[in-house]
Symmetry: D2
Subunit: 383 residues, 4 copies
């Protein structure tokens, strides 16, 4: 099943790590650590192999993938020698990464979308791909303002036909993906496909989509620990989280507008699991010196039997791109299978991967994992 | 359903907190935090109410429960004013706590067992109880040496009839519990009912039993976090745990013989979940100054995508007796229901409460919780 | 040496803990932990004894000291039984705490100052005191805007004579203290006596003053650890600090204006010691649930030999009022001695107690301690 | 001042890092981070320059320095490219590292010492060195058993003359160093020169010596923080330390005999500073996975004003060899200066570098630093 992965933000840290890693695993240069789809539970559902994946994408950045990979290797995101070892794969993918087509100020969103569709279709044809999955790994956008054109596909089509700019960038990519008959995955907290008009479009064309906001670090741990407090009836009184990180993501999230999207998706997890309001918040501080190595400190106070107060703290020191990249591969592979199987609309079965999953309120990590493996088992039984 | 709870180690910290807490909740003086059985999932299975619980037990300690409760309140285990507020309940329970019948050096184990059975039967009759659940909350014993008399009930009966001493103390109590037609719960890592001969006896008399070793702190967190690493395919390279604690438990576990039982049950969790060997161990240090407030530091190293190394640490600061006591109530109530329903033999459905659960290899906390709630749902459906 | 301690903010948490603690120590009910002046180094400089201290002050709060002490005891700031045990002392002090004289909107600052002076003089006379030390323990003010009237005593006098309001509240109290011939200590980061006009006044009247901003928690540790990095030539790359706290201070510092004063005094320590700019900042989050129990997490990255990167983290869990109160006693006692000895103007010898010490740039804790003990030794030699 | 540094354990991790680092700094390839002697305070005392240092030593290990350096670079102890960049220096040093002369079972300690002296003298002559400093960086030995031959130089000489083996290995090297007219530094907790007979020898020949046990990680922090508690009169109730580390040191310290020497020198610091006994201990666990990256968790409980309990914890994540190596250079350079200046006997001025300093009871890091800089200033004044 030759499968294309079209990365919006194709030269970013996550994309570069994804492409480098896929090449490394294809070449047998690295273990499959971090790849959920390489667990035994997913061995018989007909996933595209690492040697069947072809990468392309859009990015405004010009620095080529080899150079980006060298930067990341120098920062410790993956071994030093990898960029050289997979140089040809990186160059091949780099040749498939196009500048975004929105350069011309006079272009309407409709025209931009058309150009994006053409890019994706060309990529599919050129590489002789059975299907292409579009994955958004670009920078987090500020929260969206709703406009009537989002409410239905008809309204959206009309607005675009009139030359209006009604979609945030992530949603424009989702729109183009669907027009090009591609499943769409939003790995960021940006609006993406989560607009009624786009949901309608996906269903109309029989396309699955998944999102939002990859669950890679502090929130991953939170969605693992909160059920323990809930099911042991321990009453959480406060949960404070501080994240320090540098890299592009650190700088991006230092923007108070953009961080809102992130903080919203981070905060919802706790109350969705505990079913009551908990004091405290999630704070993100840009610390250039940390680079891609995010460190999170979470401080939890809780009351046990007879109101006795106790605390739990955790310190998570993880490499963000390294945690995200294998999930991008997992999602692209799983969504490709779903597409093959005719799944249409949002995929709650993939909640395991997201801070703010579409189509479900389930935030407990382990229950999300059971949803995922149950789905895989169902496929297998059918297959 | 008037239910007796017979506590082996009835004047220990866990027992005292259990009895004080049950009285406080009966009187509406405290929230039900920490009580799993007070969650909605268990509201319709006919649990005995807090006002239907009657406490008794055995202990070699002479200090009365009021004084013990005052000591614990002074140490912050529960609010200062509680012992005074529930003084009568404490005195009533204290009157039901008997010295262990093994004083006389010439007594055989058979004779001691007979005396224990008589004590329990008297307690049931005197208090007009429908049933009595025996719970072992005494000190951890050293690991057991197997003898042929453990292999079958017939062999055990013969050995005891010959006046041999073949059972460790915890197992002698389990034996007596079964002879007195009582379900048995082992909250410690001691052998208790986990001897083939005793399993046979429990089944013969149609009695449920549960254990071993209440999962209250570091191991609770471990059994919550390890599945996250497993299901995200993150490769755990080392997991080091250090516990500092004082109190009776600190001193007891400073004994290198006894700590072995504890360490074994603590260590098994990780490998049972991850399915591979992980470097590191669990270390317990007695620090008198900490009292009942156990602090655990766990340091985990793991490899993610492409072998990138990351770490997670957690610091758990909990009050051991306060974490254990509500589980004792939960277990006694659930086992009482099981007894009513005719359950016989080991109860894997209660694995959620234990470090080393009988009758199952399931160590993942959330799956254990699903086992428990599925069982409760089944009862409800039947009821 | 009967010595008055006039507390601006006399019913706040720090003041209440100070008064309760002095009474407890006088009565032999508590050890002198936390009291620097009780160390052997200060035993022969003629400090006023705890039984020679008399408390009074100003506050807008009406809740009496007994009630405030009970609240603090309930929150764990000191033992439960203390308020009752020192009830009479608390009532006596409470009777000496007056409302601030600035109620009347038509009053000028000159008139308010006059009223404050009268209050202090009455207190001294009524209690037959040798001297009174005024200590500001009220809420942190926003940073000050400089006006020409601050530049010299003459300019200040003229502005006040014209009915102008040119002094922030803390400085008005310092002004009144000096007019009443009292030494002044600023335990907060507010401007207090740090205005050229007030410095001139203090020197003119031969009065010592000290400040600013008691060094009690995270900054105390910082000023202890930073010299280690400096003198071992380890290059600090980032130092991030997060503080979570509730109580009055938590709420107060959640005010973005007021927190500026605090953050400035917290930040300067690091660069003063290291002599180079370090990335990172100090963040303060209000978490009501924490009460007076401040928890700080500091994360430090540094480079060692050949640029190798390492990290150090610390977690400080302290009770703010409990850390501050003994220092208030120390400062009042030491400043009383200085006054007796004829010291005039700012006291750099007391830098040990402050985040932003007047009269010196020395921020290293241990060097500050040497300055303090050298001064005490000098007094002794002279005495 | 051409100065030889003769490293006992010349191919160990510390020695390899020292030699690599000196070469890197000589070549201007690395900043002088971690080098105390490069601070301004030491700029005018006539230290030998990095280009005046020549390395040699003894080791039983055969793996050459280039290979050892590559291993350390791979483990992250220093940058990957360094071993190649300073290859010639490493090869030159490697050529000066000799096997220990104790191979022959029939050799007496007197004969071995003679051979060692010859090796050192040859090294000095061959390289045309003004002086040679011998530094012990070999594995920690078990504590020593005293024998009468240690009590005086005469007794020692007689025992050796009779063919007795009375000296532990580290002391035999110190003996040889002194016979070869070299100053001696013990960077380990082994006995080294701390034997009355050897002290006598050092003084007789006018040689300075320094030790013991380089203070690089947890103890460094401890000796920095403990004075804060002492001088703020905060009463430390318990101080628990856990160290996890791998590498050669981890394995070596897993040996219960050897770890005793280490634990003794680690434990003394606290009580020497606080002047009272504190509960708790220092625990060292071998965790191969950690390699040279030692992580220490220290948990401190203390009581403040009115007995209020608080805690401080720190987590130190450092690279042991990287922390030790610059101190080896510092010590060799400083001792070389002392030798030039005619210092004889133990050097308490160098306490700043050691867990168990010879010639002084001062353990407070900052006071040790003042001792060191005062000494440097004295030299400068004289010079």
């Amino acid at each position: 099943m030759r499968t294309g992965i079209w990365l919006v933000g194709g030269r970013g840290s996550v994309a570069t790590t994804t492409i480098t890693g896929a090449a490394a695993m294809r070449a047998g240069l690295a273990p499959a650590y971090g790849c959920v789809t390489e667990l035994p539970a997913f061995s018989s559902i007909g996933l595209p192999g690492f040697d069947e994946l072809v990468f392309g994408g859009h990015d405004v950045v010009q620095t080529d993938l080899v150079k980006r990979a060298e930067e990341l290797a120098a920062a410790g995101v993956f071994p030093r020698n990898l960029p050289e070892a997979v140089r040809e794969d990186l160059m091949a993918a780099d040749a498939e990464i196009l500048p975004c087509a929105d350069g011309d100020a006079s272009s309407t969103q409709a025209m931009v979308a058309e150009a994006l569709v053409a890019d994706i279709n060309d990529f599919r044809r050129r590489n002789n791909l059975e299907r292409v999955v579009v994955v958004n790994v670009s920078s987090t956008e500020a929260p969206i303002r709703k406009v009537p054109a989002h409410d239905s596909l008809a309204a959206l089509r009309e607005a675009l036909a009139q030359g209006q700019s009604v979609l945030p960038s992530s949603s424009l990519f989702a729109y183009a993906a669907f027009l090009a008959d591609c499943p769409f995955v939003d790995f960021t907290p940006s609006p993406g496909a989560r607009i009624p008009a786009l949901d309608e479009l996906a269903r109309e064309r029989g396309l699955p989509y998944a999102g939002s906001d990859g669950k890679t670090g502090e929130t991953l741990v939170k969605s693992t620990l909160a059920p323990m407090f809930a099911h042991r009836a321990l009453r959480v009184k406060s949960w404070h989280g501080t994240n320090v990180l540098g890299g592009g993501d650190g700088a991006n999230l230092a923007d108070p507008e953009r961080v809102i999207s992130k903080s919203i998706s981070k905060a919802m997890v706790l109350e969705a699991i505990l079913k009551y309001q908990v004091e405290g918040g999630v704070h993100i501080h840009n610390l250039v010196d940390m680079g891609d190595w995010k460190t999170a400190w979470d401080h939890v106070t809780f009351e046990g039997f007879l109101g006795t107060r106790m605390t739990m703290q955790f310190i998570w020191q993880g490499c963000d791109s390294s945690l995200a990249a294998p999930l991008v591969l997992d999602l692209a592979r799983l969504v490709a299978v779903a597409h093959r199987e005719g799944v249409s609309g949002p995929m709650p079965e993939l909640a395991f991967f997201f801070k703010d999953p579409v189509g479900t309120d389930e935030h407990e990590l382990e229950r999300q994992y059971i949803m995922l493996t149950d789905w895989a088992e169902g496929l297998q039984a059918k297959g």
